[in-house]
Subunit: 339 residues, 4 copies
């Protein structure tokens, strides 16, 4: 029987062996919740990585990470500006409405699912500054974006300037932060800093990158961190065996495993792209490919055991992961080229 | 160096080897979220266990499990009746207020942190049936209770009758459901059915009983289950690698491991109790002991490497777990007896 | 000094003398909240008007009326479909997010700010029926619409069929319901039934039509009414001197005053329209006119003491009211014609 | 037929003639919402009264006034400390849970339904300063209290010191603020300042004191005021004909009418008290009397056309109002004395 060559998503990929090992080591008794040594090590570990003071809290999902961070910036009567195709708008089941107590999402436009100061201004400038209209309180961007595009440091700086000028918070959904960082390149520290820029908070994704069930909410504002500690509990996200979550994150941070995993996934994506450059809907800047493919073409690929999602009527999405076999990626590129 | 003999809590105990094995097996690729074969098997598995149709969804914490279930019974303008010392009132950081959109908790009295129809009636009968006063919509009980007491089937039936007569939902917080079931005895099916009685929903705890980070919300009303599926996502509790959570639960359900683990913890508790029957504040009906101990007595025990929490000024709480060494329990009982 | 000829809005017009008289009569002692004879008369009065069983509760604003009604149809994890330019989306300060506990508004398109089954289907059909995407629970339409357009009975029937088929509630924001009813014509009963069609709930506006501070939430589902009674209190909208609100509503319902007032406003609008038919952006089907006017033209009108709002860069909005002097309306029509 | 002598409550009393006159004068056209001259005058008017900078916004109910003010002090994950018998706990239909997005009420004890630093400390000191327990964010007191008791300036100062030391906000529910102020005595300015002390916010009640449907939220913190302006709209409490609400408040503030009305009600209460001093459950410090009366005694009074509420099984509550006839009060006192 043929073996599936999976390009459906990175979100259900296996757990990295070093993550398993770290979790097993956490079997040693320690304090519950986040009182254990591993959880207590996170703030310092992320502060070192980003080179500026921050707090880092584990949670089980990116949805929780994003919403807990946004809750520190957005009053219930305010709004978050995000891209029309942002995950928090399209695919999180209304979680922002829940965590933010009814605050709105305001949908801006931008090429490649990326926001720009101009795109945000076009959305928010017409809002009357009166109580009849909901006012924006924060901006949420996604790194890498929903179309696998990565913000460059200059773009992040411009967004941060804009946010500061408008007194808006700036949050980054980093479900695939590692892939953006790997794309920007450099040491783990360089890459992390380049990819995060001067954001106020970051949902640093590990699950799609070799983890099991731990993301980090990284908060560069200490008051925000204090609030999130309470709200994480209130949202049922303070797990009592938290050391197993901290262990996952620390294992991935160790020796830059997070960056190596992402670099591998990105490399696999580039292998695929090599075979279909003329069909790409978006430049490949992370580990996702959006490829123009007719219905018969997609059927032909699936007949060759490639697994992937349709993306609208005319194209498909391929996602690589930390454990994608490069030969599968090469094969996929060739198969598309041969269509 | 001496080794700590831990009786602090079962909530940070190590993960059972069979749970680890099951999780590792889940490394095989499968669908994300709860589309995988393991997650899809839960409804049938719990239906067989309880002998009546139900849906079962994994979540990462008991707090989430309780609140998601209660949300199916309680409108935002209503209230949950619970014991004054219930975990949802005392130790969940206000989670019910969040998940239930501002619904109230109403605090009833009852011996051993258990509720009775009489105790609930004493609380709710004086409530005027008008819009100025918040009306109860549901009852939440804890099995085993916060004082390690177990509801008997007849008590559960009486509560269910009362709830039905008042048109109230009946939810069971089963953070230590397994310990209550083991106390009531019988086969896994017998014990599960005896311990749950005719409740409308159950937060079935696995984490304190050898799991890592998976509890089951068990819903005996199909409409409630449909709603919880949406609300789990909205609360950021739909993990994308859900198969690792389902694996934990299934491993513990297999061959009654959940019941054996709990029976072990209960046995350990009885060993302790054997040494301090005259000091017990509550009968030992699960895996918790509340023991009258002066400050010097507690110091003396700690000097012998017993780890535990103070419980008020005059007593201490000891909790056993699936992995408590019986010799430690025996030693503790003897140490208390020798005071 | 010249006297202003006001066409800014009907929302701040004076209170009708018969409303004042009715309020003064309510000075007689009676029960607080809605226990008084006037408040208790509302259900029967509206049931007679609409010819089908309903409950009617006063509240102080249309925002509260809309949101309380929608709250009976929409779970916090669901959504309301409304027009992109609906008042609840644009001008109610995020009130639906508050009253619906974070439910979303989904924005459909439609000519004249009116919804159609086709327009709604275009919005909701692409929504995946899974927990990652928020599902619609209700439709909200505005009668007359934000552009002064009135739904015809056949249009309402089609929307109701669509709603029923999709299991969606159907709510009508009737801030200017009376103006739509007057446009459709007939006796008060005929007009009210034609303008409301088979909606599930209606926010029946009186304030813009001669009232002071009382709108009616009309609920054709008895269970919904029971819920709204509790939620009105919870939202701080149960006034203790409620008889003064009921008095306003009853005074306007008496002898069809509500319809006569609206007919007058509509007639005034038609007088204006007579002078600017070629400049109208929308047919005049109620008491609002949207008129193409350049900046200098608007300045010229204001120099003649006409007061009105700009509507974008190229046009103006004129609103007539129950107390608009017909001679002012005629004069405005002529002044525009003379530009 | 005999005329009822009403002592049921002040909450449904007629509207004062000077309030009616002021409302009728507001028929003159002005800007909608709170853009009119009357609404715009409120901040200055209350600043002059209290002798310190404040903002004052009208709303239709005390429930809304209290909850909007508390929302500026209490995060959704926090709590309000109030008396066990406080109106916000007992009789507002769960409104704080709604407006505060699920924040808790924590119930302190205190004689006469008044709070003291000691009583609050007894409640909050045992709360562990960790994320598992909800933390208090504010204190709410009622002036006059639910038992008609008035806080003295020294008591208010002590509470404010306590609140500041614990970093808690201090809000005053002043549904019967005027009665407390009249009890404390002096000019309107003196009385208002004595009765409010150094609170952070005040729900200044006018409805029970001759108004129709307008209370003032008085905020001594400008940032809080900015937030309340948005949240008032979001809660559906920004009425478009707001000038009629401002007119009520300004009429009652003019020439100290508010204080004179309250002084009259208090005097009437003292007349009643003169006849039943030995039966009083609480000292009479405002316009409410709680009187020990057997069932037959109450029946005897009702047979003499006195209208009032039972207060538990053994007593009755009598409330006087701005328009209570002194002869009725004298008659009631005598009737009780004669029992």
């Amino acid at each position: 029987m043929s073996v599936l060559k999976p390009f459906l998503s990175d979100n259900a990929a296996a757990v990295h062996p070093r993550v398993w090992e770290a979790m097993r080591r956490a079997d040693e008794p320690d304090a519950p919740y986040d009182g254990d040594a591993l959880s207590q090590a996170l703030d310092a570990r992320f502060t070192a990585l980003f080179g500026r003071e921050c707090a880092a809290l584990w949670v089980a999902t990116g949805t929780a990470a994003n919403c807990l961070a946004l809750g520190t910036m957005v009053q219930p009567h305010g709004a978050v500006v995000c891209h029309r195709e942002a995950h928090i708008e399209v695919d999180e089941g209304g979680a922002p409405g829940f965590f933010l107590h009814g605050a709105k999402l305001m949908l801006a436009e931008g090429e490649g699912a990326k926001l720009t100061p101009e795109g945000i201004a076009a959305l928010v400038d017409p809002i009357r500054n009166d109580v009849h209209q909901v006012q924006p309180h924060a901006i949420a961007i996604t790194q890498a974006s929903e179309y696998g595009r990565s913000y460059r440091p200059a773009e992040l700086a411009a967004l941060a300037d804009f946010a500061r000028a408008r007194r808006l918070g700036l949050h980054m959904d980093g479900a695939r932060f590692a892939n953006a960082a790997a794309f920007l390149g450099g040491s783990p520290e360089d890459a992390a800093r380049a990819a995060s820029g001067p954001v106020d908070s970051l949902a640093f994704g590990f699950i799609k990158n070799g983890g099991l069930g731990a993301e980090a909410v990284v908060l560069f504002d200490p008051e925000a961190a204090a609030q999130v500690r309470y709200r994480r509990k209130r949202a049922g996200h303070l797990q009592c065996k938290g050391r197993y979550l901290a262990a996952q994150i620390l294992a991935l941070l160790e020796d830059g495993l997070w960056l190596a995993n992402a670099a591998h996934a990105n490399a696999a994506a580039r292998e695929v792209a090599a075979g279909c450059a003329d069909r790409l809907l978006h430049p490949v800047e992370a580990n996702e490919l959006f490829v123009r493919l007719t219905v018969p073409e997609r059927a032909a690929l699936r007949a060759q055991d490639f697994a992937f999602y349709d993306w609208g009527a005319e194209s498909a999405r391929f996602v690589t992961a930390w454990n994608t076999r490069l030969e599968d990626a090469v094969a996929l590129g060739k198969a598309i080229a041969a269509l």
